[in-house]
Amino acid sequence: MTPGWIIAVIAAAGLASGGALMAWPRSTWPLLGVLGVLFACLSVRGHKSSRFAIALALLLFFIPAAGTENTFLFELVTQMGIFAAMALGLNIVVGMAGLLDLGYAAFFAIGAYTWAIFGSGQAAEFMSGSFPLAGWPYFYLFSALAIITAALTGTLIGLPALRLRGDYLAIVTLGLGQVVRVLANNLDQPVNITNGPQGITPIERPPIGWLLGFMRFIGLGDNPALGYAIFFYLLVLAVIGIVVLVNVRLDRSRFGRAWVAIREDEIAARASGISLTRTKLQAFATGAAFSGVMGAIFSAKQLFVSPESFTLLQSITILAMVILGGMGSIRGALVGAMAVTLLNIEVLKSFSDFLVDLRQSGYVLDLGIVSFNFANLSDQVEPAKYERMIFGIILILMMIFRPSGLIPESRHRLEAGSEKKDGMTG
């Protein structure tokens, strides 16, 4: 249990950084402050309702208020939310059930294509009817459908996985994930279903007249670009809320316990009457479902899907989030997703832009002994392009020094020290 004064400090910090963000919506420091407070809310223990209230105030008041001045804030948090949902899904498969899935981005792709094909003129290529499907119910309907298609695909990919353990499973999921991508790339022939590597664009979005009306009412005007930024922000927050709730419920249910049981010892689990097949399939399908719904939302938000968004790199990115946060830990997955997304789309990119500016301006850094003219800096030095290196380092360092992650699973903490001996000798 954390002492009450720490919660008070967090609340004060939240208020201060939130206010600062509203005052300087384009400045980096208040944003980092707000995210730091959110991290803190996720990582301290106890005082559940106060932490929840602080996080809610930031997410529903301070960030949106600042976001009307700087739509990038919506973009950033929306991306974080999308990845957080995927990290939570993968966390079930890898973290709880202990099945290393290297093809996880495939489910995201399935969800994205589910809406993209019918939410654009693409469907008219292979079936009759009038497309795109515009109008309000369709998007939500297909988001729900995306859950089902992704879960079904999860089951399909999971079926062969049942017979395999550990590293073979990883390779098979990697292979099947690639198969999904290659199919998306090549199902433009003989019947054009996915439009191949060219991808699908533009993709319909649900009408948001109600939101625009509300925005006019509070004096924000009715700019649809801002409207959609707010809409997807709220939608993703709502979905994340549901996903977290489902995760917490599952974790404490017999499903969650069964997953952990097969992770810890398959043979013992089977001996205790757990059906391995069914339990693993449930893990795969549940994890895939979260990814699927976010895929549908992503395609509408991005207006575009193409197979290249669903590469191994994407799967590894999500894996790095889970590993960083702590395998099996729900709060860990959230923290990991926030941290890696922040690193990926804000910190590295701004650092790259900063170096580009220095290079263009020919700024000379004079430290007395050495001086360096930034105009001579190679344009290969662009941190934003070395995401693979960063993820690689995260994975290696976490595995060597802190395999249980930043916020270890609470179960693990209970069992610490009870690890059995076996090693990699297999």
Partner: protein
Amino acid sequence: MSDALIELLPSVLLEGLLLGCVYAMIALGYTMVYGVLGLINFAHSEVFMVGAVAGIEVYRYVGPHIDNPYALAVVAMLVAAGVSGGLAVAIERLAYRPLRKRGSTNRLVPLITAIGVSFFLQDFVRLIEGLWHGEFYMNYPADARMEAVHELPLGMTIQTKSIIVIVVTAAMLLGLDHLVRRTRLGKAIRAVAQDLQTASLMGIDPDRIIARTFLIGGALGGVAGVMFGLLYSQINPFVGFVPGVKAFTAAVLGGIGNIYGAMLGGLVLGTVETLGGTYLFFLTEGAIGNEYKDVVAFLILVLLLLFRPQGLLGRTQGDKV
């Protein structure tokens, strides 16, 4: 048309053999490491890539001083073997050994580390090459003597460089066979592969043997990198992934842990891939080109793991508890 297709067959098989040589050489690295550690060394595809890049640096810096293209190719292969072998040992020492020493139970931990190493190396090579030469897409230079075309019976043609690839592969495979079967080191490797704990009780230093295994596997991968560059010319830091997965498939196909299986698996996979890539187009009258050849390799892998995980030459092994 069908006559033309039959006439083409020997040439297709020859191309398949060349590709198979590259796969076999990479597959050996996977299979040897799996044999001694039970670990899928995900980073091996990057060891292969580093070999290809090291080879191109030889062509850049030594090339202008050596007029004999055959000698140059051999120098490139030797350097690549050294660099890749050293890299493989370094990976083992820095990333895998600490995990082994900790005695962690989780089999996912070393695998995730290996993935991390693989991703790290791709961008690391990209950064180094970018800083060094300003770009990271590189081409093996063409030399008229290496490109010379020789006529063979049955309408086949072969280039000098392809002959070199076949000869080098054969020599390396024979050498490896001798090493594993006839030398003390080979015996020690086999002992560690059979049972690491018992082997260490018999006076074998497992760390040293594991390092040697990484060295040999890495060196073969490095040579494969140069062969790949000679055959297909364009190289980049991300070139390792696809051949890496294919070679792993080849290793599983032959029975993972079995070096003869890896050689056979590589040749079979290379041939199947080239056959499928060439003939599917004609069989479907142009509806399907060669774009599904990666899918075919992955599906072979999945089906194999499901129905014959021991591969073509492997023995069944029960799960250890």
